[in-house]
C-alpha cells in the first residue's frame, strides 16, 4: 500500500492522461479535441519531470570552479537528474508545433465547412458524396 502511495505522482499523471484521452474521444468540437490532446501531452511531460526529480535534489549547477569545492559539492549535495527535464524541452516544442498545426487545420475546416463540429463536418462530407453520385446518375441517364 505504501509503495502505491509513494508513487502518487505517477498515478496523477496517468489520471491526467486519461482525462485528456477521454476528451479526445468523446468531444465533437475539434478545438476541444485539441485541448484533450494538449492535456495528454502535458501528462506525459509531467511524467518525465516527476521521473527526473530526486527528493531534496537541486538543479545540477556547480556553484564554483574550484576543484576541491567541486568535489565537496558533488559529495554533499543531491542533484535532480537533468536529462528527463532536458528531453521535455524538446517534447514541449513538439507539442507546440502539433497544436499550431492542428489549430491551423481547424481554421481551414471552419472556413470551408462553416463548422468545427466533427459530426457536422462528416455529415457535410456524406451529403457531398450523395450529391455527387446523384449528379452522376443524372449524367448517365442523359447519355443513354
Amino acid at each position: 500500500m505504501s509503495s502505491y502511495l509513494g508513487l502518487w505522482h505517477y498515478h496523477a499523471c496517468i489520471l491526467l492522461m486519461m482525462v485528456g484521452l477521454f476528451a479526445v474521444i468523446s468531444r465533437q468540437h475539434l478545438v476541444k479535441k485539441i485541448l484533450g490532446l494538449t492535456i495528454t501531452q502535458v501528462s506525459v511531460i509531467m511524467f518525465f519531470v516527476a521521473m527526473g526529480k530526486v527528493r531534496g535534489g537541486t538543479a545540477p549547477i556547480l556553484e564554483t570552479m574550484n576543484h576541491d569545492e567541486v568535489v565537496r559539492q558533488a559529495h554533499d549535495v543531491v542533484f535532480s537528474n537533468p536529462i528527463p527535464h532536458v528531453l521535455m524541452l524538446t517534447a514541449i516544442v513538439v507539442g507546440v508545433a502539433t497544436n499550431a498545426l492542428a489549430l491551423s487545420f481547424v481554421v481551414r475546416i471552419k472556413e470551408s465547412y462553416g463548422t468545427a463540429e466533427e459530426d457536422e463536418v462528416l455529415a457535410a462530407d456524406h451529403a457531398d458524396s450523395v450529391a455527387e453520385s446523384a449528379k452522376e446518375h443524372a449524367l448517365e441517364s442523359e447519355a443513354t
Binding site: T40, L101, F105, E136
Partner: protein, 511 residues
C-alpha cells in the same frame, strides 16, 4: 596537366574527408535544403533543389550500405561525443537497407510530373510543398539511422508533422479532416512511444539503443518492462497502421495528393515497421518479446485479420486510391506476419516485403497520379476502357498489381514464398493456408482494375477522346518502379539477400 592532376587529388582527398561525415549528412542535407526550398519562392527551383538534395542523399546511402556490407556497423558520433552519452548515428544492415528504400522512393517521386489541380496551394507557392516534403524525408531518414531512442521520437514527430501537412494540401476539402484525424491518432501514437521511452530510461538510465539492450539484460522488474513494451508497441503500431489501429490510413491516403500518397505509402509505414523491428528484436530481444511477452499471440491474429479485412474492404471500394489504401493495410499485415512467425525465414519475408511493398505501392500510386492527370477522376467506374488510351500507365498497373497478388516472377512472390516457408517451418499450416487464401482476395481487387481498364467500353458521359498517355516525366518513374518489381522478383540476391543478412542480425543467429 600536373596542375589539373593535383586538383583532382585534392578534390578526391576532400571527398574522402567528407565521406567520413556521410552518416550525418544523409539527414542534414535534406533538412537544410528545406529552408532553401522555402526561400526560393519558385516551384521549379524548389523542385531542382530537392531533387539534387535527395539524389546526393541517395548516393550517400548507397555508399554507406556498401560500407556496412563490407566492414560491418558504421557508427558516427555527433559532435564527437562518444556514445552512450552522446548521440550516435549507427548504420547496420537493416537500417541502411531501409534508409536506401526511403532515399530511393523520395528521389523517384520528386521529378515526377505534378498536377497542379491535385494540390490546394496558392499558385506560385508550390515551393512550400517541396520544403515540407524534404522535412518529411529528413525525419524518416533520421528515424532510420539514429542510434538514440529519444532521437527516434524527435524524428518521428518531424516526419509526422510534415506528413500531416502534406495530406492536408490535398485538393478536396475532405483532405483537411482526414489530416486532422491523422494528426490526432499520430500524436497519441507518438505520446505512447514517449511514455515507453521514459520507462526504459527509468529502468536503465540510458537512451542509446545498443546500450539499452545490453542493460536490459539485468533488469528483472518484469512489470515496468511489460508496460514499456506495451506502450512502445502500441505507439509504433498506430504509426504503422496495424489492423485495429489503421483508422487514419484510408482517408489520409485517399484525399492526399497522389504524389504524396505514393511517397507516404512507400516510406512512412516502412520506417515505422523498421522501428517496430528495432523495439522487438534489438531493444527487448527475441526471447523476451516472444517468450515473456507472448508477442506472437497478439500479433499473429492481428496480422491475419489485417490481411483479410484489408483485402475484403479493398474489393468493395469505388475509388482506386481508397482501394490501394485498404490493400496497404493488408500488405502491412503480411509484414507484421513476418515478425509474428518467430522464425528467421518468416522475418526475411517480412523485411523483404517491406522493400517490395514500397516498390509496388509507390508505383501504383504514381500510376494513379497519371490517371488523375489525364482523366481528372480516380473513380474506378470512370476508368472503363482507359487501357487503350493510356496503354503504358495501365500496363504498369497490371505489372504492379500482379506483384500485389504475388505472381511468380514479381517481387510479391518472393516475399510470400518466404512467409509461407516460415509458417511451414513453424508447422503453422493454417497460417500458411490463410496467407495463400488472402492472396486470392488480392486477385479479385487487382482483376477489377484490369477488367475495367482493358476489357470494358468507356462509360457514357466521359469523353475519352481527350484522354491520352501521360507525359514522359510521369510514365518513366512509374515504369522504373514496375521494372524494379520484375527485376527484384527474378534476381533476388540484392533484396532478399540483404534482407536475409538483416534478419539474421536481428535474430541474433548466424545467417
Amino acid at each position: 596537366m600536373f596542375g589539373s592532376l593535383s586538383m583532382w587529388s585534392d578534390w578526391a582527398s576532400s571527398l574522402t574527408t567528407l565521406s567520413e561525415h556521410f552518416p550525418v549528412l544523409v539527414v542534414v542535407v535534406p533538412m537544410l535544403s528545406a529552408p532553401l526550398c522555402f526561400l526560393s519562392r519558385n516551384g521549379r527551383a524548389a523542385r531542382g533543389i530537392s531533387f539534387f538534395a535527395l539524389l546526393s542523399c541517395l548516393l550517400m546511402v548507397i555508399h554507406l550500405l556498401g560500407r556496412v556490407l563490407d566492414e560491418g556497423v558504421v557508427s558516427y558520433r555527433l559532435g564527437g561525443w562518444p556514445p552512450p552519452l552522446g548521440i550516435e548515428y549507427r548504420y547496420d544492415q537493416i537500417n541502411a537497407f531501409v534508409a536506401l528504400i526511403v532515399a530511393f522512393i523520395a528521389t523517384v517521386v520528386v521529378p515526377f510530373g505534378q498536377n497542379k489541380k491535385a494540390f490546394r496551394v496558392p499558385a506560385g507557392r508550390t515551393n512550400v510543398i517541396y520544403a515540407v516534403y524534404l522535412l518529411c524525408t529528413a525525419g524518416l531518414l533520421g528515424m532510420c539511422v539514429t542510434g538514440d531512442l529519444f532521437n527516434v521520437y524527435v524524428f518521428l514527430e518531424i516526419s509526422s508533422l510534415s506528413a500531416y501537412t502534406l495530406v492536408a494540401i490535398g485538393a478536396e476539402r475532405r483532405a483537411m479532416m482526414s489530416a486532422f484525424s491523422y494528426l490526432t491518432m499520430g500524436t497519441i501514437g507518438g505520446l505512447f512511444f514517449l511514455i515507453g521511452i521514459g520507462m526504459l530510461y527509468q529502468m536503465t538510465g540510458t537512451l542509446n539503443i545498443v546500450d539499452l539492450s545490453m542493460r536490459l539484460y539485468d533488469v528483472s522488474s518484469v512489470r515496468t518492462l511489460s508496460v514499456a513494451f506495451a506502450t512502445l508497441f502500441v505507439g509504433v503500431s498506430i504509426k504503422l497502421a496495424v489492423f485495429p489501429l489503421h483508422q487514419w490510413l484510408p482517408n489520409a491516403y485517399t484525399y492526399a495528393p497522389p504524389k504524396v500518397s505514393a511517397f507516404l505509402a512507400a516510406t512512412a509505414t516502412k520506417v515505422a515497421f523498421y522501428v517496430m523491428l528495432r523495439i522487438i528484436f534489438t531493444i527487448f530481444g527475441r526471447e523476451r518479446s516472444f517468450e515473456q511477452m507472448n508477442l506472437d499471440r497478439i500479433l499473429l491474429p492481428l496480422s491475419i485479420a489485417a490481411m483479410f479485412m484489408g483485402s475484403i474492404a479493398a474489393i468493395y471500394q469505388t475509388n482506386i486510391k481508397r482501394l490501394l489504401a485498404f490493400s496497404s493495410i493488408a500488405q502491412i499485415g503480411y509484414m507484421t506476419l513476418g515478425i509474428s512467425l518467430d522464425s528467421l525465414t518468416g522475418l526475411v519475408g517480412g523485411i523483404v516485403h517491406l522493400f517490395n511493398h514500397a516498390l509496388m505501392k509507390g508505383g501504383l500510386f504514381l500510376a494513379v497520379a497519371c490517371i488523375l492527370f489525364r482523366l481528372g477522376s480516380v473513380k474506378i467506374e470512370d476508368m472503363r476502357g482507359i487501357g487503350r488510351r493510356m496503354p503504358w500507365t495501365m500496363g504498369a498497373v497490371v505489372v504492379l498489381g500482379l506483384g500485389l497478388v504475388g505472381v511468380p516472377g514479381t517481387v510479391g512472390f518472393v516475399s510470400k514464398w518466404y512467409l509461407v516457408l516460415g509458417a511451414l517451418e513453424r508447422e503453422m499450416y493454417t497460417v500458411a493456408f490463410l496467407t495463400l487464401l488472402s492472396s486470392l482476395l488480392a486477385v479479385i481487387y487487382v482483376w477489377r482494375l484490369v477488367e475495367v481498364a482493358w476489357f470494358s467500353d468507356p462509360k457514357p458521359g466521359i469523353r475519352m477522346a481527350d484522354v491520352r498517355e501521360a507525359p514522359l516525366t510521369m510514365v518513366v518513374p512509374v515504369w522504373a518502379l514496375a521494372a524494379a518489381t520484375i527485376y527484384f522478383g527474378i534476381f533476388t540476391e540484392h533484396s532478399a539477400g540483404v534482407a536475409r543478412l538483416a534478419a539474421a542480425q536481428l535474430f541474433g543467429g548466424t545467417p
